[in-house]
């Protein structure tokens, strides 16, 4: 995908692309599966980098591509305000969670099951071994791992399996470390 196309897509997502150019873009996308996949990846990564989790234009783009292809519009989950109970994470709990969390990045997570003769998986976090390579006959704990992660987001969530991550194109890579401001030392 060239830069001109990226700019065109960005403009479309932001609602700034003229109508005639929008139609051309949609037509092109409707005819090119490979390009659609690239665009989807580009948008996903862009969202991730910007932390824009729900840009309306992206949903609109998906729907209009689907319409151009004669498909049903994509259903988007309704978002509602999360009503927080007064009895949310209490002060002491949060304090301890915060204090421990910085130290709680598990290099090697072990899910231990007393029902299954001990450790059932050591490839929990920070590893690249697909789940299918866990020992045969042991419990399928992919779901269990997900539940642990959803219960406690302090657990490191990065995993390479199940297609959860996509490779970033070279030009999309974040700046490694030079974007951390000036060379001045941090404040106390």
């Amino acid at each position: 995908m060239n830069d001109a196309l990226k700019m065109q897509i960005s403009a479309f997502v932001d609602g700034e692309l003229p109508e005639n150019e929008s139609e051309l873009l949609l037509r092109r996308l409707s005819q090119d599966v490979s390009l659609r996949q690239q665009v989807a990846q580009y948008l996903a990564i862009g969202r991730l980098m910007r932390r824009d989790h729900d840009v309306p234009g992206i949903s609109d783009l998906r729907d209009r591509i689907a319409a151009a292809l004669g498909e049903e519009p994509i259903q988007h989950p309704a978002r509602t305000e999360v009503s927080r109970s007064k009895f949310t994470r209490p002060a002491i709990g949060a304090a301890i969670a915060a204090s421990v969390a910085v130290l709680a990045l598990f290099a090697v997570q072990q899910v231990y099951s007393p029902d299954d003769s001990g450790i059932i998986d050591t490839n929990f976090a920070g590893r690249t071994v697909p789940d299918s390579q866990t020992a045969a006959g042991r419990p399928d704990n992919a779901l269990l791992k997900q539940l642990y992660l959803h219960h406690n987001p302090r657990l490191v969530t990065w995993q390479l399996w199940d297609g959860s991550f996509v490779e970033i194109e070279a030009q999309d890579k974040p700046v490694e470390s030079d974007d951390r401001g000036s060379d001045e030392e941090s404040q106390d």
Binding site: A44, S85, H150, S186, D188
Partner: protein
């Protein structure tokens, strides 16, 4: 169950008899200890916890951390700074894979030298290392006692030991060694009802309020020829009303939130009910029956899980609580 903790019990020492020379000497010691106790009591345990929260959020530091879970230890180098409200962190595992985690704000890079990979994640408020602290109206529950135990030394610094003792067998206890001058947690322990330490996190050395250069947050290895990966799907949560409830919830636990969540790779969303007793949290996940075998009981460190089928549903309960608690909650979930 005896939830008492080893160490100096100040009030008990004040009752020491004074009928012998030995007792007289001991009395002197008691008086000195009492003086120290008065000094410590100037800040109550709740004040210490409040100061700890502030210290954890706002302090810059670097040090070496030893983390022990169920007898296995790992060592991490930790660097953290807060500049203009933006948190930068770097954690490097000192053994094995040399896993390195670098965070700036809510963007996180996980560097895996073994596989020449970099994973990029963004952590929202729920998954950042330092979540926003709740307001003053949220109070500590009555299921625990909180007390100052004694003074101690950790990583060469004077520390105050705080103990959090549960009233029953449905939750764990905690011990916190807070830096005497800053209240920063130098050492923490999670303890079960038998007094066994489930998790321990301890600074072997630490430089608090250190001036840390930006270079300290650079990757330790060259990332040339590394492959970069990013998440494609973000976690989607929707707050919902549910028709499930727990018939036999251990005392003190209350519902904090109810949501549906889509898990990566799952066909259908699961219902997620979060309970809390003011300190410990327990999640109940209710979804379709899993086609594969799911471990009935499992744990990671101090987190226990219990999974079972009820009619056409798979119920899995996970929390930083004893196994008996997750089993009791799972076994008493009912659909209204």
């Amino acid at each position: 169950m005896d939830h008492s903790l080893p160490g100096l019990h100040i009030m008990q020492m004040n009752n020491t008899t004074r009928t012998s020379a030995f007792s007289s000497l001991l009395t002197i010691g008691v008086l000195l200890s009492s003086h120290s106790a008065i000094a410590l009591a100037a800040d109550g345990p709740n004040e210490w916890l409040g100061r700890m929260s502030n210290a954890v959020q706002n302090m810059s530091y670097e040090g070496t951390v030893i983390r022990t879970r169920r007898g296995e230890a790992e060592t991490l180098k930790v660097v953290r700074s807060v500049e203009d409200g933006v948190v930068s962190e770097k954690l490097t595992l000192q053994e094995g894979s040399s896993l390195e985690i670098i965070r700036k704000g809510d963007e996180v890079h996980c560097i895996l030298p073994d596989s020449k990979s970099v994973l990029v994640e963004s952590w929202d408020n729920q998954s950042t290392l330092f979540s926003t602290l709740p307001g003053r109206d949220i109070r500590f529950g009555s299921e625990y006692d909180l007390s100052i135990v004694r003074e101690d030394r950790v990583a060469g610094r004077k520390a105050v030991l705080l103990a959090i003792r549960p009233h029953d067998e449905f939750r764990f206890g905690h011990r916190l060694w807070l830096d005497r001058s800053t209240a920063f947690p130098l050492r923490t322990e999670l303890i079960d009802g038998d007094g066994t330490i489930l998790e321990q996190i301890k600074f072997a050395d630490i430089n608090l309020d250190a001036k840390i250069s930006v270079e300290a947050f650079s990757p330790s290895v060259s990332l040339e020829n590394f492959t970069w990966y990013a998440e494609t799907v973000k976690r989607v949560e929707v707050e919902v009303k549910i028709d499930w409830a727990c018939d036999d919830l251990p005392p003190g636990f209350r519902v904090v939130s109810t949501k549906t969540e889509q898990l990566p790779g799952a066909d259908a969303p699961v219902t997620h009910i979060l309970y809390s007793d003011g300190l410990a949290t327990v999640s109940v996940f209710i979804g379709q029956v899993h086609k594969g075998k799911l471990a009935r009981r499992s744990n990671i460190g101090g987190s226990n899980a219990y999974s079972m089928q009820l009619a056409n549903y798979q119920i899995t309960v996970i929390g930083e609580v004893p196994a008996v608690t997750v089993q009791r909650i799972a076994s008493s979930m009912r659909q209204r």
